[in-house]
Homo-oligomer: 277 residues x 2
Amino acid sequence: MRTVSSLDKLRAGRLSLNGTVGLVPTMGYLHEGHISLVRRAKLECESVVVSIFVNPTQFGANEDLSKYPRDPERDLSLLKSLGVDLVWNPTPEIMYPIGYQTWVEVETLTRPLEGAVRPGHFKGVTTVVAKLFNAVQPHKAYFGQKDAQQAAVIRQMVRDLNFPIEMIICPTTREADGLAMSSRNKYLEGADRPAATILFRALSAAKAAYEGGERNAEKLRTVMKGMLDSEPRAQPQYVSCADYDTLEELDLISGKTLLSMAALIGKTRLIDNFVLG
Amino acid sequence: MRTVSSLDKLRAGRLSLNGTVGLVPTMGYLHEGHISLVRRAKLECESVVVSIFVNPTQFGANEDLSKYPRDPERDLSLLKSLGVDLVWNPTPEIMYPIGYQTWVEVETLTRPLEGAVRPGHFKGVTTVVAKLFNAVQPHKAYFGQKDAQQAAVIRQMVRDLNFPIEMIICPTTREADGLAMSSRNKYLEGADRPAATILFRALSAAKAAYEGGERNAEKLRTVMKGMLDSEPRAQPQYVSCADYDTLEELDLISGKTLLSMAALIGKTRLIDNFVLG
Protein backbone atom coordinates (compact mmCIF):
# COMPACT_ATOMS: atom_id res chain seq x y z
CA MET A 1 0.00 0.00 0.00
CA ARG A 2 1.31 3.40 -1.00
CA THR A 3 0.42 6.47 1.07
CA VAL A 4 0.86 9.89 -0.53
CA SER A 5 0.00 13.49 0.35
CA SER A 6 0.94 15.71 -2.61
CA LEU A 7 -1.14 15.89 -5.79
CA ASP A 8 1.90 15.03 -7.92
CA LYS A 9 2.55 11.84 -5.97
CA LEU A 10 -1.12 10.95 -6.06
CA ARG A 11 -1.11 11.30 -9.85
CA ALA A 12 2.05 9.19 -10.13
CA GLY A 13 0.51 6.56 -7.85
CA ARG A 14 -2.70 6.60 -9.86
CA LEU A 15 -0.78 5.98 -13.11
CA SER A 16 0.68 2.79 -11.64
CA LEU A 17 -2.77 1.31 -10.86
CA ASN A 18 -4.25 -1.32 -13.16
CA GLY A 19 -7.75 -1.88 -14.44
CA THR A 20 -10.94 -0.61 -12.86
CA VAL A 21 -10.19 1.84 -10.06
CA GLY A 22 -12.55 2.30 -7.11
CA LEU A 23 -12.39 5.35 -4.82
CA VAL A 24 -13.61 5.42 -1.23
CA PRO A 25 -13.56 9.04 -0.01
CA THR A 26 -13.38 9.33 3.79
CA MET A 27 -12.64 11.83 6.56
CA GLY A 28 -10.67 9.14 8.42
CA TYR A 29 -11.35 7.75 11.92
CA LEU A 30 -12.54 4.69 10.08
CA HIS A 31 -15.29 2.43 11.40
CA GLU A 32 -17.16 -0.66 10.17
CA GLY A 33 -19.16 1.50 7.75
CA HIS A 34 -16.02 2.63 5.94
CA ILE A 35 -14.68 -0.91 6.03
CA SER A 36 -17.81 -2.19 4.29
CA LEU A 37 -17.24 0.37 1.50
CA VAL A 38 -13.61 -0.68 1.08
CA ARG A 39 -14.56 -4.38 1.04
CA ARG A 40 -17.20 -3.72 -1.64
CA ALA A 41 -14.68 -1.73 -3.70
CA LYS A 42 -12.15 -4.57 -3.37
CA LEU A 43 -14.77 -7.02 -4.67
CA GLU A 44 -15.72 -4.87 -7.67
CA CYS A 45 -12.47 -3.14 -8.70
CA GLU A 46 -8.97 -4.25 -9.58
CA SER A 47 -7.47 -1.29 -7.69
CA VAL A 48 -8.76 0.60 -4.66
CA VAL A 49 -7.89 4.15 -3.63
CA VAL A 50 -8.96 5.58 -0.26
CA SER A 51 -8.77 9.29 0.47
CA ILE A 52 -8.53 10.57 4.04
CA PHE A 53 -9.24 14.27 4.35
CA VAL A 54 -11.16 16.13 7.03
CA ASN A 55 -12.50 18.73 4.62
CA PRO A 56 -12.65 22.13 6.37
CA THR A 57 -15.00 23.70 3.79
CA GLN A 58 -17.90 21.41 4.68
CA PHE A 59 -17.86 22.40 8.35
CA GLY A 60 -19.80 25.45 9.51
CA ALA A 61 -18.20 28.09 11.75
CA ASN A 62 -19.84 26.61 14.87
CA GLU A 63 -19.29 22.98 13.96
CA ASP A 64 -16.77 20.39 15.13
CA LEU A 65 -13.90 20.76 12.62
CA SER A 66 -11.18 21.29 15.22
CA LYS A 67 -12.34 18.44 17.45
CA TYR A 68 -13.32 16.02 14.66
CA PRO A 69 -11.80 12.69 15.76
CA ARG A 70 -8.58 11.59 14.05
CA ASP A 71 -6.36 8.51 14.26
CA PRO A 72 -4.26 8.34 11.07
CA GLU A 73 -1.97 5.53 12.25
CA ARG A 74 -4.85 3.23 13.06
CA ASP A 75 -6.59 4.19 9.78
CA LEU A 76 -3.52 3.37 7.69
CA SER A 77 -2.85 0.01 9.31
CA LEU A 78 -6.53 -0.89 8.86
CA LEU A 79 -6.50 0.07 5.18
CA LYS A 80 -3.30 -1.88 4.65
CA SER A 81 -4.87 -4.98 6.18
CA LEU A 82 -7.83 -4.58 3.82
CA GLY A 83 -5.55 -4.63 0.77
CA VAL A 84 -6.01 -1.01 -0.32
CA ASP A 85 -3.57 -0.01 -3.08
CA LEU A 86 -3.24 3.73 -2.62
CA VAL A 87 -4.13 6.14 0.18
CA TRP A 88 -4.28 9.88 -0.42
CA ASN A 89 -4.18 12.02 2.73
CA PRO A 90 -3.60 15.58 1.54
CA THR A 91 -3.26 18.54 3.89
CA PRO A 92 -5.74 21.44 3.84
CA GLU A 93 -2.97 23.55 2.20
CA ILE A 94 -2.70 21.03 -0.65
CA MET A 95 -6.45 20.99 -1.24
CA TYR A 96 -7.04 24.73 -0.69
CA PRO A 97 -3.81 26.62 -1.45
CA ILE A 98 -3.61 30.41 -1.10
CA GLY A 99 -5.72 31.99 -3.84
CA TYR A 100 -8.14 29.04 -4.01
CA GLN A 101 -11.48 30.34 -5.39
CA THR A 102 -13.50 27.66 -7.24
CA TRP A 103 -16.70 26.07 -5.96
CA VAL A 104 -19.09 23.42 -7.22
CA GLU A 105 -22.70 23.79 -6.12
CA VAL A 106 -25.79 21.64 -6.55
CA GLU A 107 -28.86 23.83 -6.13
CA THR A 108 -32.28 22.30 -5.43
CA LEU A 109 -31.28 19.05 -3.73
CA THR A 110 -29.09 20.87 -1.19
CA ARG A 111 -31.84 23.12 0.16
CA PRO A 112 -33.88 20.88 2.52
CA LEU A 113 -32.86 18.63 5.44
CA GLU A 114 -29.10 18.84 6.18
CA GLY A 115 -28.77 21.76 3.77
CA ALA A 116 -31.32 23.79 5.74
CA VAL A 117 -29.62 23.13 9.09
CA ARG A 118 -26.02 23.34 7.80
CA PRO A 119 -25.80 26.20 5.27
CA GLY A 120 -22.75 25.85 3.02
CA HIS A 121 -22.16 22.24 4.05
CA PHE A 122 -22.95 20.70 0.67
CA LYS A 123 -21.02 23.37 -1.24
CA GLY A 124 -17.95 22.14 0.64
CA VAL A 125 -18.87 18.50 0.01
CA THR A 126 -19.47 18.81 -3.74
CA THR A 127 -16.36 20.93 -4.20
CA VAL A 128 -14.06 18.50 -2.41
CA VAL A 129 -15.62 15.46 -4.08
CA ALA A 130 -15.18 17.06 -7.53
CA LYS A 131 -11.52 17.64 -6.62
CA LEU A 132 -11.12 14.02 -5.44
CA PHE A 133 -12.79 12.72 -8.60
CA ASN A 134 -10.56 14.80 -10.90
CA ALA A 135 -7.42 13.93 -8.98
CA VAL A 136 -8.04 10.19 -8.63
CA GLN A 137 -10.03 9.59 -11.86
CA PRO A 138 -11.84 6.54 -10.48
CA HIS A 139 -14.24 4.37 -12.47
CA LYS A 140 -16.43 3.78 -9.42
CA ALA A 141 -16.91 5.77 -6.22
CA TYR A 142 -18.29 4.34 -2.98
CA PHE A 143 -20.45 6.27 -0.52
CA GLY A 144 -22.60 5.22 2.43
CA GLN A 145 -26.40 5.40 2.49
CA LYS A 146 -26.06 6.76 6.05
CA ASP A 147 -25.44 10.20 4.47
CA ALA A 148 -28.50 9.88 2.24
CA GLN A 149 -28.72 13.49 1.10
CA GLN A 150 -24.98 13.62 0.41
CA ALA A 151 -25.36 10.54 -1.80
CA ALA A 152 -28.28 12.14 -3.68
CA VAL A 153 -26.40 15.43 -4.12
CA ILE A 154 -23.23 13.78 -5.40
CA ARG A 155 -25.23 11.52 -7.72
CA GLN A 156 -26.81 14.68 -9.17
CA MET A 157 -23.40 16.37 -9.53
CA VAL A 158 -21.99 13.32 -11.32
CA ARG A 159 -24.91 13.34 -13.76
CA ASP A 160 -24.96 17.11 -14.29
CA LEU A 161 -21.20 17.58 -14.76
CA ASN A 162 -20.75 14.44 -16.89
CA PHE A 163 -18.29 12.74 -14.54
CA PRO A 164 -17.56 9.32 -16.12
CA ILE A 165 -17.93 7.67 -12.72
CA GLU A 166 -20.34 5.05 -11.42
CA MET A 167 -21.75 5.90 -7.99
CA ILE A 168 -22.13 2.95 -5.62
CA ILE A 169 -24.24 3.67 -2.53
CA CYS A 170 -23.73 1.05 0.18
CA PRO A 171 -26.13 0.14 3.03
CA THR A 172 -25.72 1.77 6.44
CA THR A 173 -23.69 -0.30 8.89
CA ARG A 174 -25.14 -0.43 12.40
CA GLU A 175 -24.14 -1.35 15.93
CA ALA A 176 -25.91 -4.36 17.48
CA ASP A 177 -28.55 -2.06 19.03
CA GLY A 178 -29.25 -0.31 15.72
CA LEU A 179 -27.17 2.87 16.13
CA ALA A 180 -25.80 3.85 12.71
CA MET A 181 -22.00 3.77 12.61
CA SER A 182 -20.47 7.24 12.61
CA SER A 183 -17.14 8.72 13.59
CA ARG A 184 -19.14 11.17 15.72
CA ASN A 185 -20.48 8.31 17.90
CA LYS A 186 -17.17 8.64 19.73
CA TYR A 187 -18.56 11.83 21.30
CA LEU A 188 -21.46 9.95 22.94
CA GLU A 189 -20.75 9.60 26.65
CA GLY A 190 -22.57 7.82 29.46
CA ALA A 191 -26.36 7.74 29.10
CA ASP A 192 -26.16 9.53 25.73
CA ARG A 193 -24.96 6.31 24.13
CA PRO A 194 -28.10 4.21 24.81
CA ALA A 195 -30.31 7.29 24.22
CA ALA A 196 -28.76 7.62 20.73
CA THR A 197 -30.63 4.52 19.57
CA ILE A 198 -33.80 6.65 19.58
CA LEU A 199 -33.12 7.59 15.93
CA PHE A 200 -33.09 3.94 14.86
CA ARG A 201 -36.11 3.17 17.01
CA ALA A 202 -38.07 6.13 15.60
CA LEU A 203 -37.24 5.08 12.02
CA SER A 204 -38.18 1.49 12.85
CA ALA A 205 -41.56 2.58 14.25
CA ALA A 206 -42.31 4.60 11.10
CA LYS A 207 -41.25 1.68 8.93
CA ALA A 208 -43.53 -0.66 10.91
CA ALA A 209 -46.44 1.73 10.33
CA TYR A 210 -45.58 1.82 6.60
CA GLU A 211 -45.43 -1.96 6.48
CA GLY A 212 -48.78 -2.02 8.28
CA GLY A 213 -50.20 -0.08 5.30
CA GLU A 214 -49.82 3.56 6.36
CA ARG A 215 -49.19 5.75 3.28
CA ASN A 216 -49.89 9.17 4.82
CA ALA A 217 -46.44 10.81 5.00
CA GLU A 218 -47.45 13.27 7.72
CA LYS A 219 -48.53 10.36 9.92
CA LEU A 220 -45.07 8.78 9.55
CA ARG A 221 -43.40 12.10 10.38
CA THR A 222 -45.64 12.34 13.47
CA VAL A 223 -44.64 8.82 14.56
CA MET A 224 -40.93 9.69 14.22
CA LYS A 225 -41.29 13.09 15.93
CA GLY A 226 -43.26 11.53 18.78
CA MET A 227 -40.57 8.93 19.37
CA LEU A 228 -37.76 11.51 19.33
CA ASP A 229 -39.71 13.77 21.71
CA SER A 230 -40.11 10.84 24.11
CA GLU A 231 -36.32 10.75 24.68
CA PRO A 232 -35.36 13.58 27.06
CA ARG A 233 -31.72 13.57 25.88
CA ALA A 234 -32.77 14.06 22.24
CA GLN A 235 -33.28 17.45 20.65
CA PRO A 236 -34.82 16.80 17.21
CA GLN A 237 -33.75 19.08 14.32
CA TYR A 238 -35.95 17.63 11.60
CA VAL A 239 -37.90 14.52 10.63
CA SER A 240 -38.63 13.92 6.97
CA CYS A 241 -40.64 11.60 4.76
CA ALA A 242 -39.52 12.61 1.26
CA ASP A 243 -39.26 11.42 -2.31
CA TYR A 244 -36.04 9.40 -2.57
CA ASP A 245 -34.78 11.23 -5.71
CA THR A 246 -36.00 14.82 -5.30
CA LEU A 247 -35.98 14.94 -1.46
CA GLU A 248 -39.29 16.83 -1.62
CA GLU A 249 -41.57 16.22 1.38
CA LEU A 250 -44.44 13.90 0.47
CA ASP A 251 -48.13 14.00 1.27
CA LEU A 252 -48.84 10.48 0.09
CA ILE A 253 -46.22 7.73 -0.23
CA SER A 254 -46.27 5.94 -3.58
CA GLY A 255 -42.71 5.29 -4.86
CA LYS A 256 -39.22 5.02 -3.34
CA THR A 257 -39.19 7.08 -0.16
CA LEU A 258 -36.56 8.40 2.24
CA LEU A 259 -37.35 8.57 5.94
CA SER A 260 -34.66 10.72 7.56
CA MET A 261 -33.93 12.71 10.66
CA ALA A 262 -31.35 14.69 12.59
CA ALA A 263 -31.18 15.17 16.33
CA LEU A 264 -28.78 16.31 19.00
CA ILE A 265 -28.17 13.67 21.63
CA GLY A 266 -26.65 15.70 24.42
CA LYS A 267 -24.13 17.78 22.44
CA THR A 268 -23.66 15.23 19.65
CA ARG A 269 -25.46 15.77 16.36
CA LEU A 270 -26.59 12.51 14.74
CA ILE A 271 -28.41 11.70 11.50
CA ASP A 272 -30.00 8.50 10.28
CA ASN A 273 -32.39 7.28 7.58
CA PHE A 274 -34.32 4.32 6.15
CA VAL A 275 -35.31 3.80 2.53
CA LEU A 276 -38.85 2.53 1.87
CA GLY A 277 -40.20 1.00 -1.32
CA MET B 1 -14.14 12.34 -38.81
CA ARG B 2 -16.93 11.23 -36.51
CA THR B 3 -19.67 13.69 -35.52
CA VAL B 4 -21.80 12.85 -32.47
CA SER B 5 -24.43 14.58 -30.38
CA SER B 6 -25.35 12.31 -27.44
CA LEU B 7 -23.10 11.88 -24.42
CA ASP B 8 -23.08 8.09 -24.87
CA LYS B 9 -21.84 8.36 -28.45
CA LEU B 10 -19.27 10.95 -27.41
CA ARG B 11 -17.94 8.56 -24.75
CA ALA B 12 -17.84 5.69 -27.24
CA GLY B 13 -16.04 7.92 -29.75
CA ARG B 14 -13.58 9.04 -27.09
CA LEU B 15 -12.74 5.42 -26.21
CA SER B 16 -11.69 4.81 -29.82
CA LEU B 17 -9.15 7.68 -29.81
CA ASN B 18 -5.46 6.93 -29.40
CA GLY B 19 -2.71 8.66 -27.47
CA THR B 20 -2.74 12.26 -26.33
CA VAL B 21 -6.14 13.86 -26.87
CA GLY B 22 -6.52 17.59 -27.49
CA LEU B 23 -9.86 19.39 -27.06
CA VAL B 24 -10.80 22.62 -28.84
CA PRO B 25 -14.07 23.91 -27.31
CA THR B 26 -15.98 26.26 -29.65
CA MET B 27 -19.38 27.84 -30.15
CA GLY B 28 -19.15 27.14 -33.89
CA TYR B 29 -19.24 29.66 -36.74
CA LEU B 30 -15.54 28.94 -37.02
CA HIS B 31 -12.99 31.52 -38.17
CA GLU B 32 -9.21 31.68 -38.57
CA GLY B 33 -8.82 31.96 -34.81
CA HIS B 34 -10.50 28.60 -34.22
CA ILE B 35 -8.54 27.12 -37.11
CA SER B 36 -5.27 28.18 -35.50
CA LEU B 37 -6.32 26.36 -32.30
CA VAL B 38 -7.17 23.19 -34.23
CA ARG B 39 -3.88 23.33 -36.16
CA ARG B 40 -1.93 23.70 -32.92
CA ALA B 41 -3.84 20.78 -31.38
CA LYS B 42 -3.12 18.66 -34.46
CA LEU B 43 0.60 19.43 -34.09
CA GLU B 44 0.72 18.57 -30.39
CA CYS B 45 -1.79 15.72 -29.99
CA GLU B 46 -2.37 12.33 -31.59
CA SER B 47 -6.15 12.86 -31.55
CA VAL B 48 -8.18 16.05 -31.73
CA VAL B 49 -11.74 16.59 -30.49
CA VAL B 50 -13.69 19.77 -31.29
CA SER B 51 -16.89 20.65 -29.48
CA ILE B 52 -19.46 22.93 -31.06
CA PHE B 53 -22.03 24.23 -28.59
CA VAL B 54 -23.59 27.68 -28.31
CA ASN B 55 -23.85 27.54 -24.54
CA PRO B 56 -27.06 29.27 -23.42
CA THR B 57 -25.98 29.61 -19.77
CA GLN B 58 -23.15 32.02 -20.58
CA PHE B 59 -25.46 34.51 -22.32
CA GLY B 60 -27.27 37.17 -20.30
CA ALA B 61 -30.99 37.79 -20.72
CA ASN B 62 -30.35 40.80 -22.98
CA GLU B 63 -27.50 39.25 -24.96
CA ASP B 64 -27.32 37.73 -28.43
CA LEU B 65 -28.00 34.02 -27.79
CA SER B 66 -30.88 33.71 -30.27
CA LYS B 67 -29.09 35.57 -33.04
CA TYR B 68 -25.61 34.17 -32.38
CA PRO B 69 -24.34 33.21 -35.87
CA ARG B 70 -24.43 29.52 -36.80
CA ASP B 71 -23.31 27.54 -39.85
CA PRO B 72 -22.92 23.90 -38.80
CA GLU B 73 -22.44 22.50 -42.32
CA ARG B 74 -19.58 24.83 -43.11
CA ASP B 75 -18.06 24.19 -39.65
CA LEU B 76 -18.11 20.41 -40.11
CA SER B 77 -16.59 20.45 -43.59
CA LEU B 78 -13.88 22.81 -42.34
CA LEU B 79 -13.07 20.57 -39.37
CA LYS B 80 -12.99 17.52 -41.61
CA SER B 81 -10.51 19.22 -43.93
CA LEU B 82 -8.32 20.01 -40.91
CA GLY B 83 -8.13 16.32 -39.93
CA VAL B 84 -10.19 16.52 -36.73
CA ASP B 85 -11.03 13.06 -35.33
CA LEU B 86 -14.20 13.67 -33.36
CA VAL B 87 -16.75 16.50 -33.25
CA TRP B 88 -19.24 16.78 -30.41
CA ASN B 89 -22.21 19.03 -31.10
CA PRO B 90 -24.70 18.38 -28.31
CA THR B 91 -28.09 20.06 -28.05
CA PRO B 92 -29.00 22.33 -25.12
CA GLU B 93 -31.30 19.51 -23.89
CA ILE B 94 -28.34 17.11 -23.78
CA MET B 95 -26.17 19.56 -21.86
CA TYR B 96 -28.90 20.90 -19.57
CA PRO B 97 -31.64 18.26 -19.22
CA ILE B 98 -34.74 18.91 -17.11
CA GLY B 99 -33.72 18.98 -13.44
CA TYR B 100 -30.21 20.25 -14.21
CA GLN B 101 -28.92 22.08 -11.09
CA THR B 102 -25.10 22.02 -10.76
CA TRP B 103 -22.80 25.02 -11.26
CA VAL B 104 -19.08 25.62 -11.15
CA GLU B 105 -17.99 29.10 -10.11
CA VAL B 106 -14.63 30.82 -9.92
CA GLU B 107 -14.90 33.74 -7.49
CA THR B 108 -12.31 36.53 -7.50
CA LEU B 109 -11.08 36.37 -11.10
CA THR B 110 -14.62 36.62 -12.48
CA ARG B 111 -15.49 39.91 -10.73
CA PRO B 112 -13.75 42.62 -12.83
CA LEU B 113 -13.80 43.35 -16.60
CA GLU B 114 -16.17 41.05 -18.50
CA GLY B 115 -17.54 39.70 -15.22
CA ALA B 116 -18.60 43.18 -14.12
CA VAL B 117 -20.37 43.94 -17.43
CA ARG B 118 -21.80 40.45 -17.97
CA PRO B 119 -23.01 39.09 -14.59
CA GLY B 120 -23.36 35.30 -14.64
CA HIS B 121 -21.37 34.95 -17.87
CA PHE B 122 -18.39 33.15 -16.36
CA LYS B 123 -20.58 30.89 -14.22
CA GLY B 124 -21.99 29.59 -17.50
CA VAL B 125 -18.52 29.34 -19.03
CA THR B 126 -16.87 27.43 -16.18
CA THR B 127 -19.85 25.10 -15.83
CA VAL B 128 -19.95 24.15 -19.50
CA VAL B 129 -16.17 23.80 -19.73
CA ALA B 130 -16.16 21.51 -16.67
CA LYS B 131 -18.81 19.41 -18.42
CA LEU B 132 -16.80 19.34 -21.65
CA PHE B 133 -13.64 18.38 -19.76
CA ASN B 134 -15.36 15.53 -17.89
CA ALA B 135 -17.11 14.26 -20.99
CA VAL B 136 -14.12 14.39 -23.36
CA GLN B 137 -11.32 13.74 -20.83
CA PRO B 138 -8.68 15.53 -22.91
CA HIS B 139 -4.99 15.74 -22.01
CA LYS B 140 -4.70 19.26 -23.43
CA ALA B 141 -7.31 21.97 -24.01
CA TYR B 142 -6.89 24.87 -26.43
CA PHE B 143 -8.28 28.37 -25.88
CA GLY B 144 -7.64 31.71 -27.55
CA GLN B 145 -5.88 34.63 -25.86
CA LYS B 146 -8.58 36.85 -27.43
CA ASP B 147 -10.82 35.90 -24.46
CA ALA B 148 -8.09 36.73 -21.95
CA GLN B 149 -10.22 36.70 -18.82
CA GLN B 150 -11.91 33.46 -19.87
CA ALA B 151 -8.48 31.88 -20.25
CA ALA B 152 -7.42 33.11 -16.80
CA VAL B 153 -10.66 31.91 -15.20
CA ILE B 154 -10.49 28.45 -16.76
CA ARG B 155 -6.80 28.13 -15.86
CA GLN B 156 -7.79 28.88 -12.25
CA MET B 157 -10.63 26.33 -12.37
CA VAL B 158 -8.28 23.66 -13.75
CA ARG B 159 -5.80 24.30 -10.96
CA ASP B 160 -8.40 24.57 -8.18
CA LEU B 161 -10.45 21.50 -9.15
CA ASN B 162 -7.41 19.30 -9.97
CA PHE B 163 -8.37 18.72 -13.61
CA PRO B 164 -5.50 16.64 -15.09
CA ILE B 165 -5.50 18.86 -18.18
CA GLU B 166 -2.84 21.11 -19.69
CA MET B 167 -4.21 24.49 -20.76
CA ILE B 168 -2.79 25.86 -24.02
CA ILE B 169 -3.55 29.54 -24.65
CA CYS B 170 -2.97 30.50 -28.31
CA PRO B 171 -2.27 33.99 -29.70
CA THR B 172 -5.14 36.10 -31.02
CA THR B 173 -5.63 35.83 -34.79
CA ARG B 174 -6.26 39.17 -36.52
CA GLU B 175 -7.55 40.53 -39.80
CA ALA B 176 -5.02 42.41 -41.97
CA ASP B 177 -6.08 45.71 -40.39
CA GLY B 178 -5.66 44.40 -36.85
CA LEU B 179 -9.27 43.57 -35.93
CA ALA B 180 -9.28 40.51 -33.68
CA MET B 181 -11.10 37.56 -35.28
CA SER B 182 -14.49 36.92 -33.68
CA SER B 183 -17.70 35.26 -34.77
CA ARG B 184 -19.42 38.50 -33.73
CA ASN B 185 -17.50 40.49 -36.42
CA LYS B 186 -20.20 39.22 -38.76
CA TYR B 187 -22.56 41.75 -37.14
CA LEU B 188 -20.35 44.69 -38.20
CA GLU B 189 -22.01 46.50 -41.12
CA GLY B 190 -20.92 49.42 -43.28
CA ALA B 191 -18.79 52.00 -41.52
CA ASP B 192 -18.83 49.97 -38.28
CA ARG B 193 -16.33 47.55 -39.82
CA PRO B 194 -13.44 50.04 -40.27
CA ALA B 195 -14.41 51.77 -37.00
CA ALA B 196 -13.98 48.42 -35.20
CA THR B 197 -10.21 48.62 -35.64
CA ILE B 198 -10.21 51.33 -32.95
CA LEU B 199 -9.73 48.61 -30.29
CA PHE B 200 -6.55 47.35 -31.96
CA ARG B 201 -5.34 50.90 -32.55
CA ALA B 202 -6.00 51.89 -28.93
CA LEU B 203 -4.12 48.82 -27.67
CA SER B 204 -1.27 49.53 -30.10
CA ALA B 205 -0.99 53.12 -28.88
CA ALA B 206 -0.81 51.98 -25.26
CA LYS B 207 1.77 49.35 -26.17
CA ALA B 208 3.86 51.99 -27.98
CA ALA B 209 3.78 54.15 -24.86
CA TYR B 210 4.83 51.13 -22.76
CA GLU B 211 7.67 50.37 -25.16
CA GLY B 212 8.67 54.02 -24.95
CA GLY B 213 9.17 53.51 -21.21
CA GLU B 214 5.79 54.42 -19.71
CA ARG B 215 5.11 52.32 -16.59
CA ASN B 216 2.25 54.34 -15.09
CA ALA B 217 -0.82 52.12 -15.63
CA GLU B 218 -3.29 55.01 -15.37
CA LYS B 219 -1.46 56.78 -18.21
CA LEU B 220 -1.89 53.69 -20.42
CA ARG B 221 -5.58 53.47 -19.53
CA THR B 222 -5.90 57.17 -20.44
CA VAL B 223 -4.22 56.59 -23.80
CA MET B 224 -6.63 53.73 -24.59
CA LYS B 225 -9.71 55.59 -23.34
CA GLY B 226 -8.75 58.67 -25.37
CA MET B 227 -8.40 56.63 -28.55
CA LEU B 228 -11.75 54.89 -28.04
CA ASP B 229 -13.45 58.22 -27.31
CA SER B 230 -12.05 59.61 -30.58
CA GLU B 231 -14.15 57.11 -32.57
CA PRO B 232 -17.77 58.34 -32.69
CA ARG B 233 -19.10 54.84 -33.47
CA ALA B 234 -17.42 53.38 -30.37
CA GLN B 235 -19.06 53.25 -26.95
CA PRO B 236 -16.35 52.11 -24.52
CA GLN B 237 -17.40 49.81 -21.65
CA TYR B 238 -14.05 49.50 -19.89
CA VAL B 239 -10.34 49.88 -20.45
CA SER B 240 -7.96 48.00 -18.16
CA CYS B 241 -4.27 47.74 -17.40
CA ALA B 242 -4.14 44.82 -14.96
CA ASP B 243 -1.90 42.15 -13.53
CA TYR B 244 -1.89 39.24 -16.00
CA ASP B 245 -2.58 36.58 -13.35
CA THR B 246 -4.83 38.29 -10.80
CA LEU B 247 -6.55 40.76 -13.19
CA GLU B 248 -6.23 43.43 -10.50
CA GLU B 249 -5.87 46.98 -11.86
CA LEU B 250 -2.28 48.19 -11.56
CA ASP B 251 -0.79 51.50 -10.47
CA LEU B 252 2.71 50.75 -11.68
CA ILE B 253 3.58 48.15 -14.31
CA SER B 254 6.36 45.77 -13.28
CA GLY B 255 5.58 42.19 -14.39
CA LYS B 256 3.37 40.48 -16.98
CA THR B 257 0.46 42.81 -17.72
CA LEU B 258 -2.88 42.56 -19.51
CA LEU B 259 -4.15 45.56 -21.47
CA SER B 260 -7.81 44.90 -22.26
CA MET B 261 -10.98 46.66 -23.30
CA ALA B 262 -14.59 46.22 -24.34
CA ALA B 263 -16.62 48.57 -26.53
CA LEU B 264 -19.80 48.63 -28.51
CA ILE B 265 -19.20 49.47 -32.16
CA GLY B 266 -22.67 50.40 -33.29
CA LYS B 267 -24.69 47.57 -31.75
CA THR B 268 -21.83 45.02 -31.79
CA ARG B 269 -19.97 44.35 -28.57
CA LEU B 270 -16.25 43.68 -29.12
CA ILE B 271 -13.37 42.86 -26.79
CA ASP B 272 -9.63 42.79 -27.37
CA ASN B 273 -6.37 42.68 -25.42
CA PHE B 274 -2.58 42.76 -25.59
CA VAL B 275 -0.16 41.12 -23.18
CA LEU B 276 2.88 43.18 -22.08
CA GLY B 277 6.06 41.94 -20.44
